[in-house]
Point group: C2
Chain length 217, copies 2
Amino acid sequence: MNVDLSVYLVTDARLAAAAGHDLVELVEAAARNGVTAVQVREKDAPARAFLETVLRTAEALPSEVALLVNDRVDVFLAARDAGARVAGVHVGQSDLPVTAVRRLVGPDAVIGLSVSTPEQLRLAAASPARVGYVGIGAVHATATKKDAPEPLGLARFASLVAESGLPAVGIGGVTSADLPAMRSAGAAGAAIVSAICSAPDPASAARELRAAWSAAS
Amino acid sequence: MNVDLSVYLVTDARLAAAAGHDLVELVEAAARNGVTAVQVREKDAPARAFLETVLRTAEALPSEVALLVNDRVDVFLAARDAGARVAGVHVGQSDLPVTAVRRLVGPDAVIGLSVSTPEQLRLAAASPARVGYVGIGAVHATATKKDAPEPLGLARFASLVAESGLPAVGIGGVTSADLPAMRSAGAAGAAIVSAICSAPDPASAARELRAAWSAAS
């Protein structure tokens, strides 16, 4: 999988709106200031609006920043059919099974999967669907994802990363202060929601996260 | 399009649960007692549960009863990939555009589209996506669809059916009392939600609707 997940922005339209940001402008500013991958997540928007956001985001992103679509494989496929540069999809344990997703997206798209237990991690690594990376969380408690499991904390996160045979990103209340511990635990990256979407200055927040990741090792 | 839409059940899991029914048992009972087509609509369920409901429903339905999937083209595709007998998808004006849907589902699947204005009707009939039928509504006010437009009433419904170049079903608070007027207006069928999902005896409700449709002309 040829995607740099190190500073991985996961969008939250409500948080962005509450902070006064246009979502696509926020994503573009973050991507030009250190974000390396973007997942468009729209838990409430109808499919047409979701597709339009994906298409606008794809146009706005620098070519080296990968764009993934949360949950809706049909939105990903429609965006790809429309010529948008979309790298793949990210699904959770309640979304379509990764084997079904792989049949739908074809061999080259990236599939990311959310996991929160050693068993889910084992299934992800063993799946014939070729899961490209796992999102492990929630690292911390968070209000941005209603169905998030109990927070793991950084120590438990690190032990799951160590067990993972797949590239792993941590998600859930992650701030720049967590990045040194996450990177030294072997994570491929940190998935960021509110630390960018709710930031007064998303570009500055992205720079700070990028710097924190780069300084760690 | 080779689908009998005359008594077309659109599922509502909340109404069915509130009336004490297992959704798949309800659908099967209705289909064995006069329902000719079924649309599985799950506005709240995650994709995996939606797919499971579609697969279970497909197994339970008599082969002559067409099964359509609401909104989620990916769920339809995954069900078809899994070998389920699914006829097509039904989308609304906020869902994926029908041209995108046609590219995703291929040439043979049925595409149904919800419309509520003459302009939407014209666009549906003119679309290169080959819309198979339109759902025109809301015929009456209804609490089962939060985003339903202002009710049309039977007279306005009849005038839209007359303008439609496509097979049309009426939806929105439809009961057996409406079926004579709807059929004589030229409708291809009646889409039924609460008159079956909330019925104490869905099989009996289906028989009554079937009889009302058959008696009209």
